[in-house]
Amino acid sequence: MSAIIAMSGVRKTYATGAIAVEALRGVDVRISEGEYVAIIGPSGSGKSTLMHILGCLDVPTEGHYSLAGRDVSDLEEAELAQIRNREIGFVFQQFNLLPDLTALRNVALPLVYAGVAAAERERRARVALERVGLADRADHRPGELSGGQQQRVAVARALVTEPSMILADEPTGNLDSVSSADVLGLFRELHVAGRTIVLITHENEIAAQAGRVLTIRDGEISENGVVEAGVRG
């Protein structure tokens, strides 16, 4: 199995005035294609920082990160934007849908930046909405959808570009237990279908959904994965 994510010796230092905060202190992570990985850690441990670097929203101060075979450690903002567009599907805690656009147009948004033609965008967005079970809500605006439905629209948006990895940051943080189970169920289905999923959380029960769990503490990562038999053959 080839490694989609290969991070080695990644450090991230935030310089705030005189004090420098080392949020990541030499992180090595390898994630293979089709894996479902949870990254768990307490508040302030560096989860978000790691997620930003994994998601190409930020670059490491030191070390190397290669995503889908390409070294992305020190790319320009415009190149990073392209990588994010092609390789990563984000799911945020806050859903982050644009309130003025319909579900369909929200889902199609990454395709706009990929330069896909309008008709093809719509077709692919419909397929993605169908995949999350919201085909009948295509023309609704986020305000007309429940939290769980909104997060499913967000998952559809993450899927629509067929990215190398789906990166979810506390995706159930704003959901009730029923909707949470719903969204986690969706991730499980996607995982079974062969998607690579990285899920960041601070809750053990949610991390337990994943095939492998990485624990982050004070900017250092350790593997304590409990491989669930039966999920991936």
């Binding site: 930003h52 929203l57 934007a81 567009n85 982050n96 644009l98 930046y113 330069g115 309008a118």
Partner: protein
Amino acid sequence: MNWFETLRTAGDAVRSHRLRSLLTMLGIVIGISSVVLTVGLGLGAQDKVRDQIDALGSNLLIVSPGSSTGSGGVRGGFGSSSTLTLADAEALADKAVAPDVARVAPVTSTSASLTAGTTNWTSRLVGTTTTWEQVRARTLASGRFFTAKELASGANVVVLGADTSNELFSRGSPVGQTVTVNGATLTVIGVLDTSGATSDDSSEDDLAVMPITTAQRLSGSTSTSVSTVYVEAKSADTLSAAYQEVNAALLTAHGVTSAEADFSIATQDALLETANSTNKTMTILLAGIAAISLLVGGIGVMNIMLVSVTERVREIGLRKALGATPSAIRRQFLIEASLLGVSGGVIGVAIGVVGAIVLPSMIDQPVSISAPAIAAALGVALGLGVGFGVYPASRAARLTPIDALRSE
């Protein structure tokens, strides 16, 4: 992200904040409509002056007594008619002296009361020669102009301006009827067409034209001085040659050097320039004020765009996370600002055009709106949107996706 998609996104943003977009545009709307109107007023006034001066005749030199330069203090009183005489006019008509002159019409002008039956009307008495009709490019509505024979004999005949005729003879044809001036009875032999000049003062249509010999007799003066000599050049090409000839001939006849000239020669162009210079000052002043309001309008666009960028930090962050490059974000906001500018411009032009249709009847001033002026106004509105959108757009483009997404 292609231009059409960017335009659609910008359109969505403008539409989703309808009231705010409208208020943002307001400055540009006011600025553009006032520019369109002031420039229209300026051009309208210019057209009007040109019409009036064109109506004087064509290829015309207008010789007046007194120096226009005023050098050496020899300036004669305008209208005292002391320095320009019938003899001067005859000299200018001499082909040997002024080969490029086609026709000469000396004119005396006085004000007098005309009586027809029981109707009184004060009008301008113009004494001139038979060439006046052609030199001044006038035509007759009815009757005829006076002849050389009538000029020589000082016959008691008169040709009335259209307004004068209407005032004195409210019905029936005036031709063949008589008017009394200073105790003399004159026969009306013709009525002039209106001059074509849409002038406020209708003096070109309120006059009584008669042989200069008759006019002199009526005023009881033996002076041969005239108030103006109209000289028509053979063509527009020979106008400046005619000017030189007339100038030289009059200097010789009066025995003065050009520094001591006791007459002045004006061309239609010179008249146009003088008349327009005051108009122009006014137009520039008003357009300046309008330009300042445009500037304020542009700053308004920038202000609201900056607020909009701050307000939409999350949207910008999300778009960046989903793959928008900094230049795509810059373009989005730049187009949004341009759209505000152009929409403001379109509304402003519409208001300006409506104003141009409504205003003339209210203030009795023509307003001329031209397609190039409208195109220029729209160009300026677009330029304002782009110009004042650059800074907010680059602010948006510079936001990092993390900062943008973190803001709650």
